[in-house]
Amino acid sequence: MFLYYFVYWQEGEKPDQIISSKLNVGGKLQPDASNGNTQVFINGREITKLELRVLKLANVQCPRGTHFWVYDDGSYEEEGQNIIRGKIWEKASTRLICSLFSLPTPPENTPGLREDASAPSSRLIPEYLEQKRVQKLLLLGLEGSGSSTIFKQAKFLYGSKFSAEEMQSMKLMIQSNLYKYLSILLEGREQFEDEALEEKRNRGLYADESHPSEESEVKEDCSCIYSINQRLKHFSDWLLEIVAMGDLDAFFPAATREYAPVVEEIWRDPAIQETYKRRNELHSLPNVAGYFLDKAIEVSSNEYEPTEKDILYAEGVTDCHGLVFLEFSLDDQSMISDPPTGRFDCPSSQTKYQLIRVDSKGLNEGCRWLEMFEDIRAVIFCVSLSDYDQMWPRDSGDLCNKMILSKALFENIVNHPSFQDTPFVLLLNKYDTFEEKIDKIPLTVCEWFSDFSPVKPHHTNQSLASHAYYFIAVKFKDLYASLCDRKLFVFQMKALERSTIDDAFKYIREVLKWDDMKDDNVFAVLDESFYTTDATYSNYLRQDL
């Protein structure tokens, strides 16, 4: 088709003159005709930054990925939409600015026929229209960082209800996880029992030294607080064996109902409760284990339907570690970035988002599929603040500080070639758990934070937790700045509280808007506090909306 907008320019440079789009000259305009790199297109041509600046000054909404169609008289619409949005060069100021930048403007009076806007057959409807304007967000983080909770909260907030299949998948996941938690406890119990008996034996030997006897055998006392009866030991051996063989999913959740009473009995057994007291040493036991083991009978029944709380507490979203995604729309208007225009009659536009959550299990150094996400608008990286004193097994099996592992994963993702130009938003999660912990366990147990030396609390009115939070945020920001020449956006949250999720997504929306603007608007320098937010910022947001 023969649709020209600007002609008479040197290929690769900004345009020189406006010509009617109806001229049958030469063929379709090449997208790279002006060497534009703005990802905004006019009549098929990617425009230059200068032209984009003019569009923005003319109050044209043009986020990345927009394709416009412009007519002879300067009126414009989004390709294929058949709704004239306005006229680009309507205002005298716009025309003035164009002439300042040596950009052409259409003649005042355009004689001749006005192209019939309602004749779609004269234009191609491009295939990208389907994906137009969907802002894709990639959500990820280590196991336990809260990324799956955030996804599920977003689904409750903005998405449709969980389908029957999704509910079934989560139910099966919860049920089989019950046995996973149990196996971790039982293995821990065995280990603690071995250690306790070993210690007892040693004490027994020393005791006997003062009374040497002919009998070399010390009567073995085979019980301690971690010992269980023969029947439960039988079950324990069996369960631990199938877990070691990788056959857990061959038996569970299928046999869940059958073994539910045993689960209950074991969980209430004093030996297991003693083991559970030392859960800080059981590194792979998640915090939610106790919550589900307490309701083992209920969870194991056939009629069990996970409550909203159960869903949020459950680890993961699907039972097969596949990725999950969710589409939703948010209003574009916010008091922060859009000053009041006095035009109350214009409808608030919405932007479609696609939130994609990937499991951290596949995210190792040589990740083979992350490049499939090079078109995402932002990476949302989740870290649990309360991980600073937790240990976690590396791929090789040996234990490492979990916060350090999060840092390593963060570095891997930031350095990935697909995300060279992608803004990163860091969500520092589980602030409430962190707050409780920080007074008892110093931040310095994590070697990355070994230089944390807080000012004595009574000199400032900041709590220790707040102080520590900012310290961690700065650590990540410095790390990010050392890896690329951009600034990291940081947001504090408690993923189990739905309001903070809503605030987080509004913050992300602002980040994306700013990212769109920053290339053109010299004055779009953000206040430093925008880069690091905490609860006070989200309060501010809530007041104004």
């Binding site: 071995d194 070691a244 570690h321 596949g322 990725l323 040589g366 599929w369 499939m372």
Partner: protein, 379 residues
């Protein structure tokens, strides 16, 4: 026995295994007195003469709006199925370039697709950690889409590769990011066997590629990010028959040689290798000429053998598609330099069942069909 004692014994056992492996490796090096190229040269074999008119791009299949990740031919008739990042599974008539089906997928992040032996179903798998089966003869729904006939779930990681067992409509093998391969019964959706995983001798990293022996469909080979290829017997899932070391990086592609006695591999280390099934030897390494200007060696993304095996085709990440003379280990043609070649990475390629055409798929969103021209029909 206490946990601590068990751990000690485990460490000692692993050390013994490592020492034994090293001894096997050294013995193998002693036995390997020559490779294919040296032997062929000593017999006076000359490189096959292959000119730029011998293999021409005769069709470009346009239609995908995202990077193409996988393709497969039907065993009979000239149809191709392809999957791309646009979330579509397209079935093409290779002779006419027409699309016979364009299936919209629920999950657009797909990595693998395969045609069933009878040509009536297609399978695809990817980041949804499942393999979805579509029956091409079924009625379309109100949106014009073919409904999913079955979903094979059970993998605990992403699906990177899938292939139907050649003479059995109802069986399919997948390779996954959970380090296992699985043999499925498509009619029931059940897993028949799991190869690898917690069991010893399984892969220790993502499985990227599988290839079933067409001469003996009980045997298949898998390639993985652990830089090895492993040979499996479907009748005995408990351990791999053989592990093939040699590559210096992820093995992206494995393909059986036409006679089923050996297989080829392509890797992130930029080389292709030919391995012998029975002896386990590495028969030949196919290394590109190193570009002096380029620090990045292009990786091999996919390989396929010609019908006699005298040639094999290797697609690279920089858009090159080398035609190698298997015997003499020389490149006889680079499809990437021909007219009409792809403008991006070659992500997948495959030969038609009768060997008369090669199809390549690329990140430039297109597929191309190359046919043997001139006096030469098929090699």
């Amino acid at each position: 026995m206490s946990v601590a004692e068990l751990k000690k014994r485990h460490v000692a056992a692993m050390e013994t295994v490592d020492a034994l492996r090293e001894r096997v490796k050294q013995k193998r090096q002693l036995l390997l007195d020559t490779d294919v190229k040296s032997y062929a040269k000593s017999q006076g074999t000359t490189p096959i003469s292959f000119g730029s008119t011998d293999l021409v791009c005769c069709r470009t299949l346009l239609g995908h709006t995202g990077k193409v990740y996988s393709l497969d031919w039907t065993p009979e008739r000239n149809r191709i199925v392809s999957v791309a990042l646009d979330g579509r599974l397209i079935v093409w008539n290779a002779l006419t370039s027409q699309k016979t089906h364009a299936i919209k997928l629920n999950c657009p992040w797909m990595r693998a697709c395969a045609f069933a032996p009878n040509g009536q179903s297609v399978a695809c798998g990817g980041l949804d950690s499942a393999c979805s089966i579509f029956n091409l003869t079924s009625q379309v729904d109100k949106d014009g889409n073919i409904p999913i006939a079955r979903v094979l779930t059970g993998h605990k990681g992403y699906v990177f590769s899938c292939q139907y067992v050649p003479d059995q409509e109802t069986r399919l093998i997948t390779g996954s990011g959970d380090h296992t391969c699985v043999l499925w019964d498509v009619t029931t959706g059940q897993r028949i066997s799991v190869f690898g995983g917690e069991l010893p001798s399984g892969h220790t990293a993502d499985v990227l590629s599988v290839s079933i022996n067409s001469s003996n469909s009980n045997m298949f080979v898998s390639g993985s990010c652990d830089a090895t290829a492993r040979l499996w017997d479907t009748r005995k899932a408990s351990r791999a028959v053989q592990t093939f070391h040699g590559h210096g990086g992820d093995v992206n592609s494995v393909k059986f040689f036409p006679d089923g006695q050996r297989f080829g591999t392509g890797s992130d280390d930029g080389t292709c290798r030919l391995f012998d099934m029975r002896t386990g030897h590495q028969l030949q390494v196919y290394t590109r000429q190193h570009d002096a200007n380029d620090n990045d060696v292009p990786i091999v993304t996919s390989i396929a053998f010609s019908i006699s095996g005298r040639l094999f085709f290797a697609g690279y990440s920089n858009g090159d598609c080398y035609v190698w003379d298997t015997l003499v280990a020389e490149v006889v043609l680079n499809l990437g330099t021909l007219q009409n070649s792809h403008e991006g990475r070659i992500s997948c390629l495959g030969l038609a069942a009768d060997g008369s055409a090669l199809c390549t798929g690329s990140w430039d969103k297109n597929l191309k069909i190359w046919a043997f021209g001139g006096h030469r029909k098929v090699i």
